[in-house]
Symmetry: C2
C-alpha cells in the first residue's frame, strides 16, 4: 500500500510531467529556424541551383508552415550555398520533408551535393521592412 | 593623324566603356546581401546580444536602404552568431556603416567580438510568405 510520503512523491512526479508536456507544447509553436550549408559539385552547379530554386518556391507557395526561405551562394565561392529557413514550428518542418516537392528536390540533387551541414539556430532579432 | 582603323578602334573602346558604365549603374541598384559570422566572448554574450538587437532594430526602422536583418545564434554553440543582411544596394550598405547607431554598435561591441567574417552572397531564391 502507498504511504503518504510515496503518494506525495507520485504527485510531484505527475506535476513535473504536466509541466514538461506544457513546455514541449509551447516550444512546438515557436518558429523553427535553420541554416543549411551545402557544398555542390562545380560541374553540376547550374542544375543544382535550378532544382533548389524550384524546391524553395514551391515550398513557400504551397506549405502554410514554410514562412521564409532565402537561398544564396558565396560570391567568391559559388559552389558554397546557404539556405536560411524559417518554419512556423518544428512540426511544420517535419511536414515539409514529407512533401512530394521536397522529396523530388532531395532525390534529384543527391549526386550534386558534396556536403551538407544543418545548423539549428535561435532568433536574436528578426527585422524586415513591412512592405517586404 | 588618326587613320580610319584607329578611329574605329576608338569608337569600340568608347562603346565598351559605355556598356561597362551602364553595367556598374545597373549593379548598384541590385540588392546587396551579406552574411556576417561572428564569434563572441562567452562572458559578454548577453551584453553583445542586447547591443546587436538594438543595432538591428534601429537600422531596419530608420534606414530606407536596410531591407532585412536576421540575427541568430547557433543552438548548440550560442557564442556563434550569424546575421543575414539585405540592403537595397551596395550604396545603402555604405550609408549604413556611417550611421550613429551602427558606430555605437561597433564601438560598444569591439571588445566582445572574438572574430568576424563577412561573406558577400548572391541570391538564388528569396521567398517569403506575403504577410511576413
Amino acid at each position: 500500500m502507498a504511504t503518504p510520503r510515496s503518494k506525495l512523491l507520485l504527485f510531484f512526479i505527475l506535476l513535473l510531467f504536466t509541466f514538461m508536456h506544457h513546455a514541449s507544447l509551447a516550444q512546438s509553436n515557436e518558429p523553427y529556424v535553420r541554416i543549411a550549408k551545402i557544398v555542390v559539385d562545380s560541374t553540376q552547379l547550374d542544375s543544382y541551383k535550378t532544382a533548389l530554386k524550384e524546391g524553395v518556391e514551391t515550398a513557400v507557395r504551397v506549405e502554410p508552415g514554410v514562412l521564409r526561405m532565402y537561398a544564396v551562394y558565396d560570391k567568391d565561392n559559388p559552389t558554397h550555398i546557404t539556405v536560411f529557413e524559417t518554419y512556423a514550428s518544428k512540426e511544420a518542418y517535419e511536414l515539409h520533408i514529407q512533401t512530394p516537392h521536397f522529396k523530388k528536390y532531395k532525390t534529384s540533387t543527391l549526386s550534386m551535393v558534396k556536403s551538407l551541414e544543418l545548423v539549428d539556430v535561435v532568433p536574436i532579432a528578426f527585422e524586415a521592412k513591412k512592405q517586404q
